[in-house]
Amino acid sequence: MKPETHPANLDLLIDGEGSPAELAAIEAHLAGCPACRAELAAKRKLGTAIRQQATRHVAPAAVQERWRQIATNAASETVVVQPIRLASRRPTAPPRWLAIAASIAVVAVFSAGGTHLYDRETATTQLLADEIVSGHIRSLAATHLYDVQSTDQHTVKPWFAGKLSFSPPVKDLAEQGFPLLGGRLDYLGRQQVAALIYRHSQHIINLFVWPAPDQPSPVAAGPVEQGYNTLHWSQAGMDFWAVSDVNQADLQSFADHFRD
């Protein structure tokens, strides 16, 4: 047997793909190769078996209804956002997705109009935390932690110029135990934001920055999401969200140094 002469693309025949020439070549080979004929037959049988016997999973009716409600609830003006249970790992009840679906409109309307309802604020904070933790995880998992890698704040800050409509403050906090590693452009809530990357021993801290018209607000702990701590504050017309797997106290200390 000479395995290297077998065509690797027998599957074209099964799937009705491939050019006539490719298919003709496979057919020609099959005529003289019992092993490939057996492989083809076995794979065809497998396909039939999968279609007939393997489970095609169907979501429970309640789950399907939840998908439909994404649209109907978001389109409705009378959406009621319930408090988020921050401790719940898996919110089965509507609040979280309702909050997310409604968030863009809700945040736009209510943060501007000053009609701050506690529930909506909570939902908004939760949404932000979700996005921020996702952004943090993304930055660590992808090979895309930095767009600009430099420990020099005078390199990182000018790098953002021309790429953003605002200029984020950049500080190296190496002496305080939080060396600057670089910067990155990121998207949160469909808005372009600056991400500054810091290190604290072996931990990475992402600091997301974007302009905000809100009044300055002190450092406040955000939700803990999937084991990541979050902190947020506003100063100098910008919102800051820090996220990391360092403990809350270290993250707090980072925020304090940054604000100094």
Binding site: M1, P3, H6, A8, N9, D11, D15, E17, A35, A38, E39, A41, A42, K43, K45, L46, G47, A49, I50, R51, Q52, Q53, A54, T55, R56, H57, A59, V63, Q64, W67, R68, I70, A71, A74, A75, R90, W97, I100, A101, I104, V107, A108, S111, A112, E131, S134, G135, R138, A141, A142, T143, H144, Y187, L188, R190, Q191, W210, A212, P213, Q226
Partner: protein, 225 residues
């Protein structure tokens, strides 16, 4: 109003970056060029969602369920994918909403897998290994080895096939589900998974090869000699 959409680029590209896929023409495009997009009315978005997304949600769920391998996680991942689809549906401008949704679902699944089931991420063998595998597996493929009465044992086989598919690496499971259950073309699968058609082809060939071997081995073990 920090959160009113100003930039048009969706955050889909984050998930793409995680799994290292090529960007598709309909993923993450800046439609406007100017960076300014009108805030889309939720009524319009809801209508688009109902027309472009909901009809394909069943296929999405099936894929999510096969990739996460349990109901609860499939529901969570799917909910997230549907929310994402809702948010970005007004940016969809391609001609294949089904592939678009499935790609959002699979990206959400692989993000989840990477975080929660890193072992599933070990891919099927290398492309070059196909020939070797063939050589070692062929003896099992004499026509006698293929069980002729497999149809008679419906219940047992259902459980067996499910179990064998679940035991495959995620990339093999994905391509089998998309091809054999959703009956998508190589081109669509390539679009959804973000790999070239050649890769889809070799992945599918390897996945089938492995599943056939596992299946025959399991059936042979299950019956007294």
């Amino acid at each position: 109003m920090a959160w009113v959409s100003r930039a048009a680029t969706p955050i889909l590209d984050g998930a793409d970056a995680m799994i290292g896929v090529r960007r598709q023409p309909w993923q993450g495009q800046d439609r406007s060029g100017s960076g300014e997009v009108p805030v889309v009315d939720d009524t319009i978005r809801a209508a688009l969602f109902e027309r472009l997304v909901l009809p394909y949600a069943d296929g999405g769920y099936n894929l999510a369920r096969w990739l996460t391998r349990n109901d609860t996680d499939a529901e969570d991942v799917m909910q997230e994918a549907m929310l994402r689809a809702y948010r970005f549906v007004d940016g969809f401008s391609g001609d294949n909403p089904r592939a678009w949704l499935l790609s959002i679902v699979r990206n959400a699944c692989f993000t989840w897998l990477r975080r929660n089931r890193p072992r599933d991420m070990v891919p099927l063998g290398e492309d070059g290994a196909a020939g070797e595998t063939l050589g070692t597996v062929v003896p099992l493929w004499s026509s006698e080895a293929v069980p002729a009465d497999i149809q008679l044992e419906r219940q047992a086989d259902r459980a067996l096939l499910d179990r064998l598919i679940e035991a495959m690496p995620a990339d093999g499971r994905e391509v089998l589900v998309l091809r054999e259950m959703e009956e998508l073309s190589y081109k669509d699968i390539a679009e959804i998974t973000g790999v070239p058609i050649g890769t889809v082809m070799s992945r599918l060939a390897r996945a089938r090869q492995r599943l056939v071997a596992d299946w025959q081995r399991a059936v042979a073990r299950g019956r007294p000699a």
